[in-house]
């Protein structure tokens, strides 16, 4: 993976070369093997990917506010080398530095295709993973029990012959994608498929089941299309499971008749101990996934926004075991060709005396829904009424200026 060594050139190089290549393969595929998708496409070109970093990712380690004088005292043993030294932080404009574990993302920053929002506040102030994830995935004020990405996809137009407007990467449907609108899904396959005649019987028999009928039908109906797009994407050799899933998501989003929205989860961000050893590989993996998705999306990258979310940030101080406990404010990442990047947004509350929430946590100053709603309004072109369907009763204004 050369772009780990040459980040700045990699992102733009990747984007340009793959754009040409994938367009050709995609066109051939559509004509030769997938006639069903030839006339199909999601009506809008905009693409959205949501990465849920389960466990509460440490925003202070991902986007490091090295310009805050109180940081070193709180974080000393967890801090990477400073900007400009070997293996040091990537500078994001003089106050913040990006973790050295994410060179692909840094390349996107320098290409003005990535931004961060810092000191983001969770929807519900809680140090509970489970309450936090429920609020994050459902959206507060939502009485239907559905997830907000599901409500979003319910508003997106699709044209027959393609797959559903939303895709879940993995064998579980996270709550954010649960609800009235059926998603398609893709996970690593471990077994050869059942014969066609039997498959049709299984699908028919299962179709009427209110719990699994929709997923069964979607699984069978979309399988050939999704598999075809993956096969046309070339080898995924050397990619981690997460990066391979990101690559597949990129292929799906780029495909004619593909989904507009992809949801993916990454776990283990709950770094209560030995954080440096545990978190850096995880962030590297996310970074490899971003690179793989950008590669695979090709031309579609230009109209893509990738957004990370999490349930909370972590304590500003280091705990007794080289880790951090559950906190509050965190950092969000936005990447993609549609992002007005190269910046770190948000209002920095400071880490100094008296500024920490309960004397321990970074305060959140920008509601996570303001960021999500800004993306939905300016990128996914949602009307105010549609925004209120996705995030009902928030009293939160969308953040402007996220989208190029």
């Amino acid at each position: 993976m050369t772009h780990h060594h040459q980040p700045a050139r990699a992102a733009s190089g990747v984007r340009l070369t793959r754009r040409a290549t994938l367009g050709g393969i995609g066109a051939a595929l559509t004509l030769a093997t997938l006639p069903r998708s030839a006339a199909a496409s999601v009506a809008l070109p905009q693409r959205l990917v949501v990465i849920n970093m389960l466990g509460g990712v440490d925003g202070l380690a991902m986007v490091v506010p090295y310009g805050d004088a109180a940081l070193a005292g709180l974080r000393g043993p967890l801090l990477p080398p400073p900007v400009g030294s070997a293996g040091g932080l990537f500078d994001l404009g003089g106050f913040y530095g990006l973790t050295p574990a994410m060179p692909n993302l840094y390349a996107m920053f320098t290409a003005n295709q990535a931004l961060a929002v810092h000191a983001v506040a969770p929807i519900v102030p809680t140090r509970s993973h489970f309450l936090g994830q429920n609020a994050l995935q459902g959206g507060e004020g939502n009485a239907s029990g559905s997830g907000w990405i599901n409500r979003l996809t319910g508003l997106l137009p699709t044209i027959g012959g393609g797959v559903e407007a939303g895709v879940v990467m993995g064998l579980q449907t996270p709550p954010i994608a649960q609800g009235a609108t059926q998603f398609c899904g893709w996970g690593p396959s471990a077994y050869p498929g059942a014969a066609n005649t039997l498959a049709a019987l299984i699908e028919t028999l299962g179709a009427s089941d209110p719990l699994i009928g929709g997923p069964i039908q979607s699984g069978f109906n979309d399988h050939a299309l999704l598999q075809g797009w993956i096969n046309a994407g070339g080898s995924s050799k050397g990619l981690s499971p997460f990066a391979a899933a990101m690559r597949n998501a990129g292929l799906f989003l780029a495909a004619s008749g593909g989904p507009a929205v992809a949801v993916i989860e990454t776990a283990s961000m709950d770094t209560h101990s030995s954080q440096v050893q545990r978190l850096n590989p995880l962030l590297s993996d996310v970074d490899a996934g971003l690179g793989a998705l950008a590669n695979a999306a090709g031309a579609a990258w230009a109209s893509t926004v990738v957004m990370t979310v999490t349930e909370f940030g972590r304590t500003a101080y280091v705990n007794g075991s080289g880790g951090t406990d559950h906190g509050s404010g965190f950092a969000m990442l936005l990447a993609g060709g549609a992002v007005k990047g190269g910046r770190v947004l948000g209002t920095w509350p400071g880490l100094g005396a008296g500024m920490l929430l309960d004397g321990r946590d970074l305060q959140g100053t920008t509601d996570i829904r303001a960021v999500a709603m800004g993306v939905l309004r300016d990128h996914m072109r949602l009307t105010p009424a549609s925004l209120a369907t996705v995030f009902p009763g928030t009293g939160v204004s969308p953040l402007s200026g996220l989208i190029a």
């Binding site: 879940v168 064998l171 579980q172 709550p175 396959s189 498929g193 028999l205 997923p215 209560h272 007794g320």
Partner: protein, 438 residues
């Protein structure tokens, strides 16, 4: 009772309360009595087999390895042992004649979810079930909670092994050390009073301080749970309004109080009814189980018996099978030999539920939402197809009868009747909504 309703009741006892009907299982004349009998006497596997001391030894070999080669060898030994533990667990699930009791073991193991991720937790995960869960499934919740909180697998999984009182002699001498609140928070939120009790951050801190020094010795004659008094935070702590004096043994009183707290009973009853009745349980059913716990001092056999007595628990097929449920039920119905158990353990992982490795301390989802996904359904279909190819010489009618008995729907029966090959019949059986539910 009519013959039909008895057949339905037997199938419900097998599937809802048990692990799925087995190919050679005897049909109980009285399913309710059959279930209640399983709550009598000890679990023969409690504290059996290889103790967690061996897992600590294997885990420590990885942690203490000084060369790449030594580490690789230690990792191989550890992985092999972990596979053996998984295999034994699945093999027992395939053959047990007390499947209701075994489902309770599964339930409580998922309730006290450890993550077999690092060397110590990987080495001790199997022993955790035998030592902390099995002995107490029909005992008191207090005893189970205490056993769990003194087990290396839990102490390491949620980092209490490295939680040190900042004013302890050890921290003063070493000029370092502080609490790690992970286990304390999850004990309050998941293992006892729950969020509904509105516990505060101060309660998390207090329980964390109370439990400082509850750690694990990896080697030598002390290998296992120890209370390192030099790491214990001195001074009184107030937890949920009760003040504890500050001794290293306060944890026993504090955990006992948590285990028998009314809010804990509410949390446990809600989880039990969700597992045994429906994803959206009826509050009246929860109240019945709360009463059983309250009146028995938190006796888990009493709670289990109360579940059997719930009319709603006998409404068929309200629950979607998890991958573990699905694979084991298919194995039991098909008469899968225990020599195949390692394969089934790998299959459960391929369906996204690797044994003892849930990503979060709240365990694997116990409701349908996450599992009812297109990719999950495709993987189940393709797995069923591969699995069924091993049973071409088995009588498909016998497997179907074992799996569903009186719960076989007319629609599934009619499709089965149209198929000729055993392989196809079994594949379709396992993919049917009848079988995907329990």
């Amino acid at each position: 009772m009519t013959a039909t309703s008895n057949t339905m009741q037997v199938a419900q006892a097998f599937n809802r309360f048990g692990l799925g009907g087995g190919l050679t299982d005897a049909i109980p004349a009285d399913p309710v009595a059959w279930l209640n009998t399983q709550l009598q006497g000890p679990d023969p596997l409690a504290n059996s087999g290889i103790s967690s001391t061996y897992g600590l030894y294997l885990g420590n070999n990885v942690l203490a390895a000084t060369t790449v080669a030594a580490r690789a060898a230690a990792v191989t030994s550890l992985r092999n042992f972990f596979s053996q533990e998984q295999r034994n667990f699945i093999a027992n699930a395939l053959t047990t004649q007390t499947p209701f009791r075994e489902r309770l073991v599964w339930f409580w193991t998922n309730h006290f979810a450890i993550l077999a991720g690092g060397p110590v937790t990987t080495g001790t995960a199997g022993a955790f079930v035998r030592e902390a869960i099995r002995p107490h499934v029909t005992g008191t919740y207090t005893d189970m909670l205490l056993a769990v909180m003194q087990h290396p697998a839990m102490l390491v999984s949620l980092n209490n092994d490295v939680s040190v009182g900042p004013q302890s002699p050890y921290a003063q001498q070493q000029q370092k050390g502080g609490i790690n609140e992970n286990l304390a928070r999850e004990t309050l939120e998941l293992f006892s009073v729950g969020l509904a009790s509105n516990f505060a951050q101060a309660d998390v801190d207090a329980l964390a301080y109370i439990l400082t020094g509850w750690t694990v010795s990896l080697t030598g004659s002390t290998a296992g749970f120890i209370i390192a008094s030099d790491q214990h935070q001195p001074g009184a702590q107030t937890l949920l309004g009760v003040t504890y004096p500050g001794t290293v043994f306060d944890g026993y009183q504090a955990l006992s109080a948590l285990a028998t707290h009314p809010a804990t009973y509410q949390l446990l009853a809600t989880k039990l009814v969700t597992h045994f009745v429906a994803d959206a349980p009826d509050p009246a059913d929860i109240a019945v189980v709360v009463r059983a716990l309250s009146q028995s001092g938190g006796n888990l056999a009493a709670a289990a018996a109360a579940l059997i007595g719930l009319a709603n628990a006998w409404l068929p097929q309200t629950k979607l099978r998890t991958p573990l449920d699905f694979v084991v039920a298919a194995g039991r119905a098909a008469g899968t030999p225990v020599t195949y158990a390692a394969h089934l353990a790998a299959d459960v992982a391929a369906l996204d539920q690797p044994l003892w490795q849930p990503p979060f301390p709240n365990g694997w989802p116990d409701t349908a939402g996450r599992w009812a996904s297109p990719a999950q359904m495709m993987q189940r279909t393709n797995w069923a197809n591969a699995f069924s190819s091993n049973y071409r010489l088995t009588d498909p009618a016998a497997v179907t009868n074992a799996a569903l008995g009186g719960l076989l729907s007319t629609s599934t029966a009619s499709v089965l009747a149209r198929l000729s090959s055993t392989h196809d019949k079994l594949t379709l059986l396992f993919c049917s909504p009848d079988f995907q539910r329990r």
